[in-house]
Amino acid sequence: MNAGQPAEPRIIAEDLVKRFGSFVAVDHVSFRVGRGEIFGFLGPNGAGKSTIIRILCGLLRPSAGRALVAGIDVARDAERVRERIGYMSQKFSLYRDLDVEENLKFFGGIYRVPRAELGERIRFAIDMAGLGGREHALVSNLAGGWQQRLALGCAVLHRPPILFLDEPTSGVEPASRRRFWDLIHALAADGVSVLVSTHYMDEAEYCHRAALINQGRLIAVGSPEELKNTALGGDLLLLECEMLGPTLAALQSAPGVLDCSVFGNSLHVLVGSAERSLRELPDYLAQRRLPPTRLVRIQPSLEDVFVQLIAVDSAKRRAA
């Protein structure tokens, strides 16, 4: 696992722990996010993504560990941190009974955006969110995608160098999601560090680096490429055959096979070495009268990697 330490860390989490009573929501989590980096948090619902983000914003106090945002200890001086961050919560949290511009003006006042700049910043936010012409639409009447982009606009109104986005695209249709990610990339290109959580596995591809979180623990960190190539700890083969069930059973005990799972009407086989298994497996199966119709090496998708890792991790926990 390559933690990939960035040169100029804007967010540093060290051994963060958060307990709610006896429930451990965050379990010794450490990572760093650099300038201009888009760092993704991925994981199933309830993995602890929102809790980590809320700790980093100073909304929750860590039970143990340390969190530095913009070089400031969040637990010590949350207020100074808050001047340097933008935040979009999981739950839509703008005022629905205010219109677009009124919301922006309100947050402009709260963040004390200099008056001279405010008009220009609001213009920027409205353009960015593509809300031109809807300045006076009530927020409650906007569709989900627009609301999310407006929320992002409010979050970046004061040009924060660091952005926390907690599942910003949940419940938004794919086209709007794409647009949203384009906005995030544009911000990152300007040097903004973005920590974004999502439970859409495919969105990890948009991140510079992604961390996979399961039951409060970080189980893999790396760029999408790294994750695909190394996180599985082996190579992935695609196997097509006549009888899925018996083949699956046979493969479990085959030499060199680490894991095997059904994928549509074929099998995904995780092996230690693709070269060796491509040579040996056809014979092994043929001996058992289960000759494969097709066996090739494939590039795993991120979803493969995550499904695999979470399954392994959950199994390990159950065993322990």
């Binding site: 935040y87 919560s89 949290s93 703008l94 009974d97 205010l98 709260i110 004390r112």
Partner: protein, 377 residues
């Protein structure tokens, strides 16, 4: 600091403007309640439903009863035939007072012997009963005095035997006719303000917490002081408008005389308003759901109301409760408002009350600010 406060203030006003039913809720019930309660709240006793049983059927007994009917304190609702009728009338609450004149009443009177008038009072409402009994005694005494003078003149032709007596001359100040409305209408102004303002502000913060908008504000660098003050100002303006409305209805409709200095009343109202606002905001910061705020609201208002001196005199309460009333801003405001309306007293007399309300407002506001943590825990 001011930018953020102003941002909050503007936001609150826009939200209020968008809330169409709020304007209705803020104005119509206020006026209606003031009108309705102004008529309802009084301990005065008039037209007590009365049952009479005259077993003597003499000129004297009729004369005595006419003394009762002539006063507007008693209304004869039933002329009973028997003692049983009387019992039934009181049991059914048809009559609150029963007057019984036994046979031989006139006989005894003429002989100069003491003739009894029997009175039965439904004591369920002890206050009304006590006051009604007072009127019965006064009317009976009047009749007796007239009769005695009359009798003495008839017997000896002179003013009768010399009496020695001490008379109590009554000088009720501030409210010479003992008009109950004069006492309760100013009190209602304070009570209504308390209920309306606390109810308005108790939801100010907890609502944002529940809807989720508070989270967005918490991650901003705004300070608790700025947030609380930003919330206070708009509600202060609304509250002031409501007080003005209530005072206007109370004075113009019920014509309670205003004897004091209007500026003292304004000062007292402002301080009272601030302390009730602060109370509402404190409730709002203490609660995590609107349901909790609502329940707390309900249960705080009732004791504030009872332990204020609005309807139950503080001096009649046990000492411990009397101490408790010192933390109640309504207690002080009632003194100020009744003092300015009826007594016409000024700052010289009322400064302790004004100072107490200012102190309560400051302490409550400071507590809300300290209690308002920018965290979700």
């Amino acid at each position: 600091m001011f930018e953020r406060i102003i941002a909050i203030i503007i936001k609150e006003f826009i939200e209020l403007r968008r809330d169409n039913s709020a304007r209705f809720r803020l104005i119509v019930p206020t006026i209606l309640q003031m009108l309705l309660f102004g008529y309802a709240a009084t301990y005065e006793v008039y037209h007590v439903s009365t049952a009479v049983l005259d077993l003597d059927h003499s000129q004297e007994s009729r004369e005595l009863l006419s003394h009762f009917t002539a006063s507007n304190r008693f209304d004869v609702v039933e002329e009973a035939r028997s003692q049983r009728d009387i019992t039934a009338a009181i049991d059914r609450s048809d009559a609150a007072v029963a007057l019984v004149i036994h046979a031989g009443f006139a006989e005894l009177l003429r002989k100069g012997r003491s003739a009894p008038l029997q009175v039965i009072v439904d004591g369920t409402n002890s206050n009304t009963a006590l006051i009604a009994l007072g009127y019965v005694n006064a009317i009976a005494a009047n009749f007796a005095k007239d009769y005695a003078t009359d009798l003495a003149q008839r017997i000896s032709g002179t003013a009768g035997a010399r009496q020695v007596q001490v008379v109590l001359e009554q000088r009720p100040w501030f409210n010479p006719d003992l008009n109950g409305r004069w006492f309760f209408v100013p009190g209602l102004i304070g009570t209504l303000t308390l209920v309306i303002v606390v109810n308005l502000t108790a939801f100010a913060i907890v609502r944002e917490r529940e809807v989720g908008t508070l989270e967005q504000i918490m991650v901003s660098p705004i300070r608790p002081v700025e947030f609380i003050l930003g919330k206070t100002v708009p509600f202060f303006v609304i509250g002031l408008f409501q007080v003005a409305l209530i005072v206007a209805v109370g004075t113009l409709w019920f014509q309670v005389p205003f004897a004091g200095n209007p500026l003292v009343l304004v000062l007292g109202s402002v301080l009272f308003l601030l302390s009730t606002l602060a109370l509402g905001l404190l409730i709002s910061t203490l609660c995590s759901t609107q349901q909790q705020a609502f329940s707390l609201n309900f249960f705080i208002l009732n004791p504030f109301f009872i332990l204020s001196g609005f309807s139950f005199p503080i001096s009649s309460m046990p000492q411990v409760l009397q101490w408790l009333t010192y933390v109640n801003p309504l207690r002080y405001y009632l003194v100020v408002i009744r003092g300015t309306f009826l007594k016409g007293v000024g700052l010289g007399v009322l400064w302790p009350e004004l100072a107490a309300m200012a102190a309560i407002a400051l302490i409550l506001l400071a507590t809300s600010i300290l209690r308002f943590r920018k965290s979700l825990e």
